[in-house]
Structures are given as structure tokens and as C-alpha cells.
Amino acid sequence: MTSRDRVRTPLSAAAMEPDEGGRYGVYGGRYAPETLMAPLEELSRAWDRLRRKRAFQRRLRHLLEHYVGRPTPLYFAERLTEHLGGARIYLKREDLLHTGAHKINNALGQVLLAKEMGKTRIIAETGAGQHGVATATAAALLGLDCVVYMGEEDMRRQRLNVYRMQLLGAEVAAVDAGSRTLKDAINEAFRDWVASFADTHYVLGTVTGPEPYPRMVRQFHSVIGSEARRQLKRQTGAADPDVAIACVGGGSNAMGLFSAFLDRPDVLLVGVEAGGRGPDLGDHAARFSGGTLGVLHGARTLVLQDEEGQVVGTHSVSGRARLPGRRSRACVPARSGADRVHLGHGP
């Protein structure tokens, strides 16, 4: 970490759970073209119905255990702990999941939901490719067509993941608009969805977008935090760590981990975002410290933008982290009271 900022904004109870419009305090909401409003309302209803259904929960649990590889280990990193000589460090090994990242928790959940809704086609955006690979895998598993939008620049940098998606039967659609990276892939997925919602579900890959995406994605990833607490309790006798640290690109794995500790005031939550080349606009992807309130990709969130409200480019070594819109669910802990989330910057 090269710097640390404390964000102190009081968080009301109302901001923890969204209101009926999907708003988390000033964040969230549903800022979409009118054509998508009814399909989004339909998605909210379907999600609220299915997430309570025993059969759906059973099906998802079964797949997470037997296909995805849950639970993942909580590993005590003894050598790293020794080497750093401070905290006892535990790693929640989401990298050991099928397809190699936490992304599959959400992708599989959403594709299962889409199938229940009678959709036959899946679209997704991807930056580094992890969410695209996870979605292509889930679609192949459940027998749905899949198109993944990916910026040309990202395709060039992540050729292996492009190949994996294609092997899984997905079409990878190159996006040459704008900065040719993740934000443009999201734009293109929305453009597809405006015309295809009747038979297509858009699997958004992180805690952004219009209601119900932030709460739905958070819910699918909350298994990370709930497992970690259980495992920590078993291994150490105490379920709460002193500090929970997660990298924040889009915010989905951070929300997955933090969601288990949001009501535990003694747990310090630390999000690490990409500091890039430097603190100037366009040189980094650190939206908590550099972003201002804006409306992008269907939600009100922190956005890296100029004073005219034009979204600016980002710089990060990661593909997924190159997103100028801060996700509303991630905004919540970042702006939460009592110094709940601290921010650090990495490259």
C-alpha cells in the first residue's frame, strides 16, 4: 500500500439494505433507459421469488459444492505471517475455485436464475476475462448460449482467457468503442440487452448496475464471508478477525467478504484499490479517493469523471480493476461510519 485514506461518512441503517428503488442512501437506484425498466422490474421480482425458494437454494448449493469446489480453504499463511512479523494472516483461497476466481459464485447463480426465468441466452461483460470465463462456464454447464463482450484492448492483453471462453462455446464479441476496455464492454452489453431482454439475461459481473444487480451479486458472493467466519471460528475459536482485507476493482469479492462483517463494528474492513501510475485523473483506478458522485452503468456511484460529467479513462495493471464507476454496494462500506473501511492503493 502506498497510501491510506480514512473515509468517515455516517452510515444509516437504511444505507445497508436498499429501499424499494434499490437505493443505498445516495448510492444505487435504477438509472436505465425506459425499455429496460420493465425487464429490470421482472428480474427483481424473479430474484426475490427464487432466492427464497428451497429448490433453488438446494440446486445452487449442490452446484457450488460438487461443481465449483466450495467450501474453499481458509489457509493460515504461516511463512508470510512469520516474514511480516505482525498479524496472523489467513488467506481465503477463492483462487482455488473452478475457473480460478471468485467470479463463478455469482456467474453460476445468475445463470441458474436466468434458466429458471426461461431465458435461453446469456450475455456478459468482462475485463481481465475472469468473469467472462466464469459466465461461459456456467452457461455451458446449464446449456445456454453465451456472448461475452470484451474490449479490444483487454482481448489483446488477456488472449488466453479469450481462448478459454471460446473453448467453452461462448462467442467473444470485441468492443472497439471508447477506451476499448471494461467500461465499454459494459456499455455494449447494455446495448445488446435493450434489444434482446425477451430471451436474454445479462450476467453483470460485479456489484454495480441498476437494482437488483448490486444486492443480487453481493448475495451470491456472501458465501465468501460466511464461510470465512465459520472457518476462522473453527481454527482460532473466534469468528471475527481484527482486520478483513480485500482488493477492490469492481467490488464483488470485497462485498462478498465484508458482508459477513458489516454488523461487526470491531472488525476493521480494508479495501485496496489500484493506484496505477499516480494520483492524477486517468492514471489510476482509485475511485473511493479520486471519484465523485455520478451516474454510470445504471447506478449512482462514485465515478472518475471530469467537471463536465464525462467519464475519464483509468489505469491499472489489472483488467477488472479498470472500471471508472464505483459500485454502489462497495460504496456502502467505503462510506460507512466508524472508520469501517480503510483504503489503500496498490498498482
Binding site: 425498466m37 434489444a195 451516474v295 464525462q310
Partner: protein, 275 residues
């Protein structure tokens, strides 16, 4: 910007539709992206729209992430941004030319540029510049009624909301309640762009909206030929043509007679309305 307009009880937009209605014809509403191909060229192009027969002008404010637009308007937005266009620049154009143009101007924008400025500041500046109405393509009435609509209403600037084929009765009523001047029915569940055919159920859909909405109903998205204008004009109070005019600007950007070509094209598109 100086306040220089005092509004009567009826907005200029309402008056424009009423005038067309007296002539028993639909209003013609062309769309252009402000600042494409350059900020300097825009006033001439707006004059060409009026000379060709525009009743209301939709002036596009470019945004870096136009999720509702197809390739034609995306390219135009990029050109305009590269040429220095911005919400400030567009307000400046309206301030300098609204009176001279003599037809109502609706800003067609994404919400973020407006949001970045602050809705109250924006509403005041829009009113002072002479903007007649504002349509934010990614601001549904659900959010708009809480944020932008009250601010615009206070400044007597009309709010225009979209209605789509997917809009339920409740959503149509909500859009109508949030709008003044007119409502905008999107003829296609798609991004903006030219299409060979209108959808076959369009007339029925527009009638469904008209039955529930007390305001004029303008129809846009996918309309590009005089024949399509004529067909839509039979069921709608207003016809919006965007991408095909934007494409004309793109294809003739370097030509000295760009404005004359645009005027000729608008004349062709409005001819069916004058018969």
C-alpha cells in the same frame, strides 16, 4: 447567462404542438449531436433544420458512455467530444441561438453531465439559456421525479420522458405524470439507429399510449425515410428523426454545402407532413 425569458402558462413546446395540430399535421423533430462535426458548425446546421421544416429541435449532448445509442450516434458523440463539446458548450449554443432559431429546443442527454453540474444549477442555467425541454435517456421517471423534474419544473423548463413498448400501464402513467410538453415513445426496443422497416405493431402501440396520455406523443428510434415519417405521422403527434441526419452530417462533414444538404434532406422528410 442572463435571465431573459419569462414563460407564459403554456410552454413553447406545447405551443409548437398546438400549432401543428391546428394545421392538422404531426410535428417534425430532428435530432443532431451538438458539436458534430464542430461547435462552430452547429448553429448553421440548426438553422438548416429550421429552414427544412423543424417544429422542435432535439439537441444531443455528448456523453462518454452512451449506452442507448447505436454506432452512428456513438461516432457523432465521439467527434463532438473531440471537438470540445460539453454540456457547457451546448448551453452556450442555445443561449446564443435559441431566439434567432425561433423553434423550441429540447436537450437530449444522458443524466451524468446534468448530475455532475447539480440539478438545481443545471435547471437554472438551462432556463436562462432558453432551453425549452430536457430529456435524459437514462433517467427514468422513477428517479427523475425525485431529482430532476422538480428542479426543471421550478424553472419552467419542460421534462420529457421516454415510453417504450415494454412500459406497463403504471409506467406509462408515471412517464406522463413526470412529463410536460410531450412524451417520447421509442418505436423500437433497441439502441438508436436507422432501420429498413417500422415494427408492424407500431400503430397499435402508439394508440395504446395515446389512450393513457394527455400530452402529445412523439415517436422516434429507427425512423429515417419520408415514407416512414408519413406512416408514423398518421398515428403520432410528432416524428423524431435522428441517426439518418447524424449520418448525413458524418458523410458530408467536409463539404462546404453541408448545411444546404441537411436542409434539403429535412425538406424531403417533412414533405409528407405538408401535403
Amino acid at each position: 447567462m442572463s435571465p431573459r425569458r419569462r414563460r407564459s402558462s403554456r410552454s413553447a413546446i406545447a405551443a409548437a404542438f398546438a400549432g401543428c395540430s391546428r394545421q392538422e399535421r404531426a410535428a417534425f423533430i430532428p435530432f443532431l449531436v451538438a458539436g458534430d462535426p464542430s461547435l462552430k458548425a452547429t448553429p448553421d446546421l440548426l438553422r438548416a433544420l429550421v429552414a427544412g421544416g423543424a417544429d422542435v429541435i432535439e439537441l444531443g449532448v455528448s456523453f462518454s458512455d452512451p449506452i442507448a445509442d447505436g454506432p452512428t450516434i456513438q461516432r457523432a458523440s465521439n467527434r463532438a467530444l473531440a471537438a470540445g463539446s460539453s454540456l457547457s458548450a451546448v448551453l452556450g449554443i442555445v443561449e446564443r441561438h435559441r431566439e434567432e432559431l425561433g423553434v423550441p429546443i429540447v436537450l437530449f442527454t444522458y443524466y451524468n453531465p446534468v448530475h455532475a453540474r447539480g440539478v438545481a444549477t443545471f435547471a437554472a442555467q438551462a432556463a436562462d439559456s432558453g432551453v425549452d425541454g430536457v430529456l435524459c435517456v437514462d433517467l427514468p421517471p422513477d428517479e427523475g421525479l425525485r431529482e430532476l423534474q422538480p428542479a426543471l419544473s421550478e424553472r419552467d423548463v419542460d421534462s420529457i420522458y421516454l415510453i417504450a413498448a415494454t412500459s406497463t400501464k403504471e409506467r406509462i402513467d408515471r412517464a406522463a405524470a413526470a412529463s410536460n410538453g410531450f412524451v417520447y415513445y421509442t418505436a423500437r426496443s433497441d439502441v438508436t439507429g436507422e432501420r429498413d422497416d417500422l415494427i408492424p405493431t407500431l400503430a397499435r402501440e402508439v394508440k395504446r399510449v395515446r389512450r393513457r396520455v394527455h400530452l402529445p406523443v412523439a415517436v422516434g428510434f429507427g425512423i429515417s425515410t419520408p415514407e416512414q415519417v408519413e406512416e408514423v405521422a398518421r398515428v403520432a403527434h410528432g416524428v423524431v428523426v435522428g441517426s439518418s441526419l447524424v449520418r448525413l452530417v458524418e458523410e458530408n462533414a467536409g463539404e462546404p454545402d453541408l448545411a444546404a444538404r441537411l436542409e434539403r434532406r429535412v425538406g424531403q422528410l417533412t414533405a409528407p407532413l405538408r401535403r
